[in-house]
Amino acid sequence: MELSLLLIKALIILAVFGVTLLIATYSTYAERKVAAFIQDRVGPNRAGPFGLAQPLADAVKLFFKEEFVPANANKFLFIAGPSLAMLTACMSSAVIPFGGTLIIGGEAIHLQAIEVNIGILYVFGIVALGVYGIMIGGWASNNKFSLLGAIRAASQNISYELAMGMSIIALLLVTGTLSMRDIAAQQGEELFGISGMNWNIFYQPLGFLIFIVCAFAETNRVPFDLPECETELIGGYHTEYSSMGMGLYLFAEYVNIFVASAVMSTLYFGGYNFPFMDQLGLPHNVVTILGTVVLFGKIFFFIFFFMWVRWTLPRFRYDQLMNLGWKILIPLSIANVILTGGAILLKQEFFQ
């Protein structure tokens, strides 16, 4: 790879990274605003216009707080925990295609930081690592609540990962590739004569449902936030954390929400494709930029959806959570795989 290409890549990566952080930062703000909206309050409005500088204020506050390590905690792991959580959260956004190609000077540039042929697996692998951050942090605190929270987080994450993987498999049956870019591109094809409408959600509604439930569980969001449920476990795995340790955990959660939203948009909701995209007769680059805008629209919707659910639904009980994961989602996802496979074969046999 030439250096220039690498530089461009690096730029895109940094851009994506920056965007990720930015969105995550403002998600905290959005969360509070949404909560306020739903509860018919005003929400943050003092720092800056409409309280827009609130996230910055929060960040500064966290930076200046005392960094605190409990006496009988394992010091190294205690610090490693939140770091790892953040690290893994930040790693996964790179493979998501944020747009099609920009043609600049005859050179096609993909609006995607990294293209790997196993994109989904990459995301999956990195997300699965996220649980280590929580587990390590909770264990290192040497606090019973933290430990319980950590263990809950771990078993919850692994339980829902199975169903998630299975729903992805059903999707793979449809797409036949593991590359995010390919999947996104496929959805740009025509469906019923409308270009850019070949979204996977039409083929995989059940799969999507499973996926989104699992995504909630993986990000430890309400109604699956048992690892940190205040009423039972004080703060769960981050009970002992203060300052930036705490900050990173919270931050990682929002980054994960962003990534999950992006993945869902890309896999099921057409990614950067939008209806009639090829039929409007616009120049290629414009379509691409429009696509990117549309994609972010989808992502913001999902982020909003996450918050909406948070302030609407109550929390599960632990046995309910596990039952849902193991006894409902997994059989359902297997059924989904079989149905999908059968349908595809039927179509192949009789309609082609």
Partner: protein, 127 residues
Amino acid sequence: METTAPAQYLPADYLPIVIQFAAALGFVVFSMVVTHLIGPKRKSQVKNASWECGIESKGDARTPISIKYFLIAILFVLFDVEVIFLYPWAVNFRALGIDGFIWMLLFMGLLLTGFYYVIRKGVLKWE
């Protein structure tokens, strides 16, 4: 299947991942170091005790926990690996055709049998 991805991946194609990693690591280290440097440090014994409902904490937190969690972990390991077998199958699904589907049905049948067994055995019963 038409593919837009390059037909050939060089090891260097994975280099951006390293860049991404470096960026993420840089961010994490930066924030941790900065907060360490600028935050105040005042230690005391009471403050350093672990916080459990505000009363004095008893004993060590490194106690054995319910066996259920281990069972879940072990089940996960098994099922996850079995799921991994499905990935290549899923990707090559169309090429394998009916035969592949039937074989995989058999595989999933076994998987489900095991799953059913686990449920009947009460492994997933949370009291």
